[in-house]
Structures are given as structure tokens and as C-alpha cells.
Symmetry: C2
Subunit: 419 residues, 2 copies
């Protein structure tokens, strides 16, 4: 049974905000030391964390969650070690905060600097995975931000224990334990209170399914860094190299079908289809990929079913794929415009003119020519850890590492300049 705890969300956000002020001024070494201390405490308290996780797993079994969900929820010694190691990794990353990103002097002698500063207080709203609790905290503290954590109800026992260990660890560091706040409630209202707490929370980062993300985007007055839903397309052009095309299609669809940078629709130029139909059928069959197609695709592929509107519009997150046959790149671009979620879109072509048009016209965080969409990922791109993949256009776009958790401040130093 989950214990319902009375929480005072506003008070917690205020504590976080207060802690963020001093945290924002701490030197990098102090923050790194704190992360290492948290990592050690997490590992040392593995047994307690696993015991709490066992309660969540028991509740999950009772609730009849599916295997994939239970897997996301489950912790073991290795997974706890993984998130401790994750914090040690973040301690090694460059600290963006305090960087002077630009500097100039006006004719009147006024010196102008733009300095990277922490956002302040990050509100993290997420679903089942308990590792996000430690990962997000590490990224927030390293970049000088306090964090308010609101995890999914199904992981509340695990999250509570992880936070308790992290806060206890902070008592041994120069970071106030108030910098990490855990909303210990399964009440939806507690989440909704975060949506409008503009006075005390600087940004909300929702991480989870489409429903969670739209609830935050549609109801929040706090600025939102929208993450994640990826209805990604692979367009195989008439000038595609067939070997690359099939390798990319298979990788983007099957490597990890449940993640946001997996492909959900393949768009194929009719000339490519005509030239490589047998190989296409063979490749899909070998890789257990089921097709929901438009008329031309259904005609060409035995066993393909007709795609419904929702199959063009939504992620399958499985070995299913939607398939559209087009007569030119502009038709592919129009389809992506209509159904894409501005995450990752790929073209396979050796025609540079066609590639240029695709790269220019498609509006997405990441555009690929001749590579799998699976590279839209902080670690694959060399950022170290990431707090999510932004699919919105303001500020951080694409995989968000430490710099995405900062903003800038103009700092002007003068000797009495007036206008």
C-alpha cells in the first residue's frame, strides 16, 4: 500500500528556491565533491533502496503492469551502481555555469558581459523509472540548480528512499539538502500545483509519455522544456544507396523500438520501391517488422495492412512501422510536416540537392542524411548525461545536457554611466 502523505508543495518549492541562491554561487569543485558523496551514499545504501523498490514491484504486480513497465520500474544492485556511476560521470563533465559567453565595451566605457547562470529551480515531472531521480538530481546540482522531483506514483517508494539517501549525503557536503525536494504524494493535485508556481519554479521538464507531456504543456504557466515524443520518419529517396537504406531502416526500427529516437514511419520513393521491392520484403520479414501502409505500400507488400490516421500520427514503440510511397521529396517533406513531432527525421540519398532541400525544409530538432535516427541522444553525441530530448524550439533543442539547464545574465560594470 502506498502511504498518502500530506505535502506542502509551495513550501518545498520555496525551500528549493532559497537553496538555489547559494548553490548557484558554489565553485565547481564543491559541487563535484557533493556528487561523489551522493554516489557513494547511494551505493552504500543499495539494500535499503532495493527493499523500497521491492514494495513498488509488489504493488506493480498486484496492479498487473506489463513486463516492459515492470522492467523500467525494477532496480537491482547493478542498476543502483549504474546511477551512482552516472553521478560520478556528471562530476567529470565541464561546468557550464559561470562561463562568460560574450563580452564587449560600449563607447561610453560600460563593460557588458553575458554570463551563463543556472536556471534556478527545476521542476522535474516524470514517470516510472527511478533512475531519473538520481540522474536528474546530478545534472541539476552540477549546473547549480535546485530540483523539485515529482516522480510517478508507481515508483514512489523507490524514489522516496533514493531521495532520502541523497539528502542525507548532502548533509556531509556544502550543498544544502533543501536543494533537492521530493513531492511525496501520489495526488495529481500536487503535480498540478507545480504547473503554476512561477514565483518559485523556473522551468518544468516533463519526461514520460505523450499524455504526461501534454498535460504539462497545456496547463503550465511555468515555462516548459517539452521533451520527447518522437514520431520519427526515414525517407528513402530514389537516389538512395540500397544497402545503406536497409541498414538504416532496420537499425532505426529495431535496435530499441520503445525509445523516442526509433523510426515509426518509412517513406519510400516509388522508383526505389520498384527497383528494390523484393529486397525490401525480405528485409522486413527477416526483422519481424509489420507494415501498416498507404494504398501503394499495401499493393506492393504482401501482408501489409492499411494504415489508419492514428498510425501515421502516433508512435508504435514496437516492431510495427507505417509506410508511405511518394513520388518526390516534397511529398515526403509534406507528410513529415503533417505528422512529425519535430524530433528526428532522416533522408537516405546520395543526391546532395535533394538532401539539401530535405535538411532545409524539414522542421525538427535533428535531421539526418544517411544515418540512423538513433543518434539523437546525449551520450551518442558526446554530451555525457542528458536530462531529456527537447522537441520544442525555444532555448534548448534536441538532447539537453548541462548547458540546457542554464540561461544567461547580462552583467554590466561601469563607473557612473547614464543615458
Amino acid at each position: 500500500m502506498t502511504t498518502m502523505t500530506k505535502v506542502n508543495v509551495k513550501q518545498q518549492a520555496q525551500l528549493a528556491q532559497k537553496a538555489s541562491k547559494e548553490l548557484g554561487l558554489l565553485p565547481t569543485g564543491t559541487k563535484n565533491q557533493a556528487l561523489l558523496t551522493i554516489a557513494d551514499h547511494l551505493e552504500a545504501n543499495t539494500a535499503a533502496i532495493l527493499a523500497a523498490n521491492e514494495k513498488d514491484l509488489a504493488n506493480g504486480r498486484e496492479a498487473g503492469y506489463d513486463a516492459a513497465y515492470m522492467d523500467r520500474l525494477a532496480l537491482d544492485t547493478d542498476r543502483v551502481k549504474d546511477f551512482a556511476d552516472g553521478l560520478r560521470q556528471v562530476a567529470k563533465l565541464e561546468d557550464p555555469s559561470g562561463e562568460v559567453t560574450d563580452e564587449w565595451t560600449l563607447d561610453n566605457g560600460l563593460n557588458v558581459q553575458t554570463i551563463r547562470v543556472p536556471l534556478g529551480v527545476i521542476g522535474m515531472i516524470y514517470e516510472a523509472r527511478p533512475n531519473v531521480t538520481a540522474d536528474a538530481t546530478g545534472l541539476a546540482l552540477k549546473s547549480g540548480n535546485a530540483i523539485v522531483l515529482k516522480g510517478g506514483s508507481s515508483a514512489i517508494n523507490s524514489n522516496r528512499q533514493i531521495v532520502s539517501v541523497m539528502k542525507e549525503a548532502l548533509e556531509h557536503t556544502e550543498i544544502s539538502s533543501d536543494a533537492v525536494q521530493f513531492i511525496d504524494s501520489t495526488d495529481r493535485q500536487a503535480t498540478e500545483e507545480l504547473f503554476t508556481m512561477k514565483e518559485h519554479i523556473d522551468v518544468l521538464i516533463p519526461r514520460g509519455g505523450g499524455k504526461l507531456i501534454s498535460a504539462v504543456v497545456n496547463n503550465a504557466t511555468v515555462p516548459v522544456l517539452e521533451t520527447g515524443v518522437g514520431n520519427c520518419h526515414i525517407y528513402i529517396d530514389k537516389d538512395a544507396d540500397a544497402k545503406k537504406a536497409f541498414a538504416i531502416l532496420v537499425n532505426a526500427k529495431t535496435d530499441r523500438p520503445a525509445v523516442c529516437n526509433a523510426a515509426e514511419t518509412v517513406i519510400i520513393h516509388e522508383a526505389f520501391l520498384n527497383a528494390h521491392k523484393d529486397e525490401l520484403i525480405e528485409t522486413l520479414k527477416e526483422n519481424n517488422i509489420s507494415v501498416y501502409g498507404d494504398e501503394a505500400a499495401c499493393k506492393a507488400l504482401p501482408g501489409a495492412e492499411k494504415a489508419e490516421e492514428e498510425q501515421w500520427a502516433n508512435e508504435f514503440l514496437s516492431l510495427d512501422i507505417a509506410m508511405k510511397i511518394v513520388s518526390d521529396v516534397d511529398e515526403a517533406i509534406s507528410h513529415i510536416d503533417e505528422y512529425g513531432t519535430k524530433h528526428s527525421e532522416a533522408i537516405v540519398t546520395d543526391n546532395e540537392e535533394t538532401a539539401k532541400r530535405f535538411k532545409g525544409m524539414v522542421d525538427a530538432a535533428a535531421i539526418y542524411q544517411n544515418a540512423s535516427t538513433r543518434f539523437t541522444d546525449g551520450s551518442a553525441l558526446g554530451f555525457g548525461a542528458e536530462i531529456g530530448i527537447s522537441t520544442q524550439k525555444l532555448h534548448a533543442r534536441g538532447p539537453m545536457g548541462l548547458p540546457a539547464l542554464t540561461t544567461i545574465k547580462y552583467v554590466m560594470t561601469g563607473d557612473g554611466q547614464i543615458r
Copy 2:
């Protein structure tokens, strides 16, 4: 009489979005040429613009608007020439769009570029000033964005005429006239439709009074670049140079009291007050500044009235100022934390330690040491034109020039890379 026109906001936003796609790919020279053409047409059509403006002015007189409002609304030959010249200035500014802001190659050979791209469609929601119609359009087009304009009802005749001239001018250029959309309605519902049009509008920029801005922030699901309310403070420290302190106070309060970077509260260290009381009284009197103070300020200054909560919290936009006496810099910082609007905050001190703490702890777009807050302004900082001053923390912060109207896109070029 204002004519109520049936408008189809969604259709207009769709047209803008379609136009933005090709506009985003146009070379800088083509966009500059279009701006110069618009400028020439505006000047050539001054008579028609002034005739339309006369209708707005007549309506305004009938409605009994005050002199300051009528002044913001009024156009004359010089003002029309000013906004034509503004477009010519924007044509000379560097084009941010297309800039490769970063580039690296992964170990597997995948080339990664981050490229600055236009945001897409900008929804501009603003109040009386008709010059915003031309200024915002120039900045949007130069940075490769389409724009949907929703101006204040009181300027609807002027705005309609200005837009009509600009669209006619675009017919002589390579930019589609659909890239500029004017919501020809005084119906509040037309504005509200823009708030949630996420499919077709990429960002909303509200520009006007606090009420307008909060209506947008509280109701929009489209990302908002929040601009402008400036409840700015000048903190005069015990280690302030008195001559600089008074010059900055007078400049920040009186140079243009109605603008957002004017000072609204002065916070004075008690030691400074004690040392310079007579000079302070004299300076305020000479400059016709009325004081609403806390207890200590009222005690020290003859004629000062007690400040109410709303006077600490809101802009006066007049020669009134709120005054608080403090015993250290932290008390000043706490007051700014409570009442500031994250716009521009200044400290006058020759003590570098105190200045460092103020600059580090105060959370605002612009922090000044020994200079007037009046420099928070695109042209004063050397950006050329600005579309507004952002007081939010995501993406663009402070004065927003052309780069603030762009985002980035990751463009990856490979030869078959998969994970």
C-alpha cells in the same frame, strides 16, 4: 467606427506557416532587398497611412484616451519615415539564420552541425504603437520568420493600412506576401485563438502592459517569449560614490519614466542615508521625484508618503519612486527577490566584494554596477533593433535582437552510420 471583420485566424496562421518554409531558405540578399522595398513603399504611401491613423486618433479622442496614449498612437510624416528607416537599418544587420554555431565529427565518422534556423512563425500580440507593426515585421522577415500580427484595437486602422502597404510591397519581392498576416479584428477571441495554435505558430511575443502579458502567459500553450514589465531597483550601498549614486538615480528615474528600464524603487543603505541625507532631499526635490517610503525613509524625508504593498510591487511609470532603507546588501537582495520582475537591477558601490555578491545573487536579465538601468535596450547595447526585452529565463533573455528569433537544428551527415 471600427469595422468588425470576420477573420479566420487558423487559416491565416496556416498561410504564414506555409510561407515561412520557403522564406527560411532565402539568401540574406533577397531578404534585405525585400526590406528595402517595403521601406520605400511605406514612405511612398505616407498619406494613406496618415489618413488611416487619423481615424484611429478620432476614435481615441472620442474614447477619451489620455495624452500619453494618444502620443503612442499618433503618426506623422517623420514617424513613418522613422519606421521605413528602421527597416533599412535591419537590412544592414547581420543575418543570424544559417550560421553553423558548432560542428564536430563522431568517432564513427558522423558529422554533426548545429545550424541556426528561423523559429518559423512568430505571433506578435501588442498594444497601441503602430510602429511595432513595421518594426516586428522587419525583424521577423530578416531572420527568416513569417509573422502573424495582432495589434491593439485602438490602432487597427493604422495597422491595417501599414500591413496592406507592406504586403503590396512584398508582391514585388521574392518573399511571399503570405509571410505577413494581419488579424483584422478587434475581437478578443481572435487573440485567444492564437494562444493555443501550437500546430502553426512557433512562439508568441506579447508586447505591452502587464495585463496583456499575463493574459498571454497564463493562457498560451504556444511557447511564449515573455517581455517587459520592469520593476527595476537601484541599490545605493554604504560604499557608493555619492556623485555617481545621485546621477544614476536621477537618470534611471527621470530620463524616460514610462519605459520598462526606468527605476521604480531606490534601496538605500542606512549609512549612506545618514551621510548624504541633505543632498538626497535636495536631489529628489530638484528633479520633482515624489517618494513612497518605508518607515525609515518617511522619517528621513520630509513629504515622503508611506508605501503600500502595491507600490513596492508595481511600476509607477511616472516621477514617483518607492524607497526602502536597509542595513546591508543582503536585505536589498531579499527585497529585489520579493518584488523584482527579473528585468534590470543596479547596485552603486565601490566595494567589489559587495558588488560580486549582488551580481551573483540577484536573479534578473541585466545587473548593473555603477551604471543606470536605462542601458537594457537593444540599440543601447549595440544590437540594432529589438523585438522586445525578455524577462523570462529560457532561450532569449534581456534585449532580443535578430538571434532571439532563431533556434538551432542539429544536422547530421553520414554514410550509413547505425548504432
